[in-house]
Symmetry: C2
Subunit: 301 residues, 2 copies
């Protein structure tokens, strides 16, 4: 089933203890699309500048991502310069150049209006709501946000949360949005705002999924090398929504499996800089790691 | 089967965002014993001062803990003053008074020499080795340590690690001991020092168990209220070793179950100050929470 994503496409320059990369394709919509495309056809709504060339389009094309909704604007593409130090748990932003992203006004092509699965990447909640309202046929809508919007546009964010099914946040964002330090209580508060599912991303510590009457928690996949954590959260969302769109099953047991597929994809993403590992991936590797997650977490009662 | 613990008994004064408690019974051997006693008979080797009175002995007696190895020395019992702030992930020590613990020389009573399961709590590795050598019949020996000994007595610690089966550490300690930031690689290095099992405690993020050809990872139990994290690690060890001693099964699948029982006990411990919750616990609650852990982590392949 069709899966639509709206979010950023960027050129990232990243330094980690393992090396550096300059001006590589990144942004939430890129990581999401490349990951989700392993599971279902993906439609992308985003904006790029004049410096986004054929070579970059070919990256999306190689994964069958539909870029009819990828607008081209006068100016330069969004650029992010950041680094990770020490245990690499948090990015340090050196510079953000919004460029064409500053005036981004997402337009959903007519051909996308029947999209059943939707991921509203981390952009202005006003724009997220605008996109949501153009997709009345959406069966499942997930939203990502961040501290900047939680603090800066709380009322707009609440209006948008009221019309989505799933919210995907990291621990700190969940606590800030709920105004409660305890994560279990924070999830209860966030569910009252609208989303029936709260997905809390915990980086190397895994993910926790809060729904009406159950909690699912999965650890992170133990990796030998984490070279670049950039995009891990959006890659998680891509695997998560991709599996749901592929299966057409939004039951609680399948949401659990979806969060494992999300974790699998994120665990691959961080093994190399940028989209490198995700683009090289064989389908069989995904299924193998999914089963490894089972071995990692299984115990007999 | 008989389970011996050597470690500290202390009076703790603790302040957390949820309140405070003064001079309550604590210390690694206390938390371990009270937790492990739910599973198997426990023998304790530790030292207390003249201020340790009948009321305190009765606490151990109420759990059937054998205190024949609990030495009484002239002076005051070990005292720790600490507090937890914010997310309570780390204790801030306000004051440590070693008192009688400073001259602690563990003596293993003759009646304990046949102990099959042994937990060497976090004390000087020279003393841990001394105790280990007196227990040739031990079937499974686990050791806890900390940064203080890793930095201060690395050679003694290595000698002791060479003769134990399991080492229980937190993430930072594991990284420091191995001299490697990546946890999976750190476990490989630590296993080369002797222990065939490395248990990494991750606080609210759960636990990871590294053995020869498998890794098991369990998330933390989502709690509504964490009032006092003191003793969580030793309580984990108590449930872990207690289940192994009870079952007499040290296979990898049972080590997984043991780490869940450890997590169950730790999750109860932090719900109240000191030993409060552990002493009140009904056996049925332990089994219920064990099954809840299964529900928390299960997904269909």
């Amino acid at each position: 089933m069709s899966l639509l994503v709206v979010g950023s496409v960027a050129f990232d320059s990243v330094r980690t203890p393992y090396g550096e990369a300059e001006g590589i394709l990144g942004g939430a919509a890129s990581y999401f699309s490349v990951a989700a495309s392993r599971f279902a056809p993906v439609r992308m709504v985003a904006v790029v500048g004049e410096d986004f060339n054929e070579e970059h389009f070919r990256i999306f094309a190689s994964r069958g991502v539909d870029t009819a909704g990828l607008q081209r604007a006068a100016g330069r593409t969004f650029r992010w310069y950041g680094e990770y130090v020490g245990d690499m748990n948090e990015a340090r932003t050196i510079e953000t150049q919004l460029n064409v992203f500053e005036q981004f006004s997402p337009r959903v092509p007519d051909a996308y209006l029947d999209s059943s699965y939707v991921f509203l990447g981390n952009i202005d909640p006003v724009l997220q709501l605008h996109v949501r309202q153009q997709l009345p046929k959406a069966r499942l809508v997930a939203l990502d946000s961040m501290n900047y919007w939680i603090r800066g546009k709380p009322e707009d964010l609440r209006r948008t949360l009221a019309v989505v099914d799933i919210v995907v946040l990291n621990e700190g964002e969940a606590r800030m949005l709920a105004g409660v330090a305890n994560l279990k209580k924070a999830a209860v508060e966030i569910r009252k705002l609208g989303p029936r599912i709260v997905v809390v991303k915990r980086g190397e510590h895994g993910v926790t999924l809060f729904s009406e009457d159950s909690i699912f928690s999965a650890p992170g996949y133990p990796l030998d090398d984490v070279r670049d954590p950039t995009g891990a959260g959006d890659t998680f969302a891509g695997g998560f929504m991709g599996h749901l769109a592929r299966s057409g099953d939004v039951s609680e047991p399948n949401l659990r499996r979806a969060s494992i597929y999300g974790s699998v994809m994120a665990s691959f993403a961080v093994e190399e800089f940028g989209l490198g590992r995700l683009l090289q991936l064989e389908s069989q590797e995904i299924e193998t790691r999914f089963r490894e997650f089972k071995q990692l977490t299984h115990f007999d009662v």
